[in-house]
């Protein structure tokens, strides 16, 4: 059950994990099942866990005064679901994270993760690399959001994240792009011609 996680880690680090390290990881990550719509994190709670997605799809979003949902992140297999701000700062999260599809996770608490990092140097290295890539991806998205029209942003999105485009309904994607579902509907209609 934990193989995808081990594979994921080994892809990040130069030297493979030892058998000992693998065992440690396997015992530290707990399997958890979420049914569709079930919360992984609810706004107001402190985010205690990080989840590695084995199967399924999740979303992170905030809710405004009028009940509108604003999607900040989408997650599928091999993504990590968490609110780092809340988890690191121990502050109540302003986000909800929930399952969009029935989802199978491997979860670990921040305390256990820090513990693991002390015992397995390769994990520290992995996280450093992940943070680098995460920073780069986030920067691109930010840059695109600031500079481009909704149409251009959708094009880039469809190009860069075909998986998301297939897996999530349009109104979710619209929110992820920062436009209304009606606008996205019209953009897509346009671009067919």
């Amino acid at each position: 059950m934990h193989e995808p996680l081990i594979t994921y880690i080994n892809q990040y680090v130069s030297s493979s994990l030892t058998g000992e390290e693998e065992k440690l990881i396997i015992t530290s990550f707990q399997p958890k099942r979420l049914r569709k719509k079930q919360y992984f994190l609810q706004a107001g709670e402190v985010c205690k866990n990080t989840g590695f997605i084995l199967e399924g799809a999740m979303r992170q979003y905030s809710v405004d005064d009028k009940g509108g949902e604003h999607i900040v992140h989408l997650y599928i297999e091999n993504y990590w679901a968490t609110d780092r701000e809340s988890s690191i700062m121990l502050t109540p999260s302003i986000y909800n994270i929930d399952a969009w599809e029935d989802t199978q996770l491997l979860i670990i608490s921040r305390a256990n993760m820090l513990d693991l990092m002390n015992k397995i140097p390769a994990l520290v290295e992995m996280i450093r690399l992940m943070d680098e890539r995460y920073a780069i991806a986030n920067n691109r998205r930010l840059s695109s959001t600031i500079s481009n029209t909704a149409e251009k942003r959708y094009e880039e999105f469809a190009q860069n994240h075909p998986q998301f485009n297939l897996r999530f309904p349009q109104h979710i994607i619209a929110s992820y792009l920062g436009v209304t579902k009606e606008t996205l509907s019209r953009i897509r209609k346009q671009s067919l011609k």
Copy 2:
């Protein structure tokens, strides 16, 4: 001349740097002066250096087909100026970074930085912490950009970055927020009432 950098690093890590480590850092970071408008990085080049700002102000921006500038980052004292994507991936940058004011930097190449990190564990820890905070800040900005109107974004900006608001002209801030200078001008006029 290097004290602000040493102070900066010591604030990040639990145990202070040893005298030996300080020396190593001081010899690894080269002072560099940029005059107003001088490029630190020009689009098309691979970003080789990271600069720690001792004094001055800089900006990172892309230029579109019509010559329009889109500000992605602003930097002042105690900020790090670099294009991580280019620096890490060794790809030509799509951004310019230049000095908005006359600026005094301490620069280090990526190779030398990696070398330093091997020799000074505290630096690895610092970068991990910086990455965390960077990820959090970036997420907030992204979340705000997607979810809020231009007016709300400006409010948050003025709240969170009063230093930038004082130091950079309005048309730069407008671009940073993803609106035109005319729109920002009107927003500010509104909010006086």
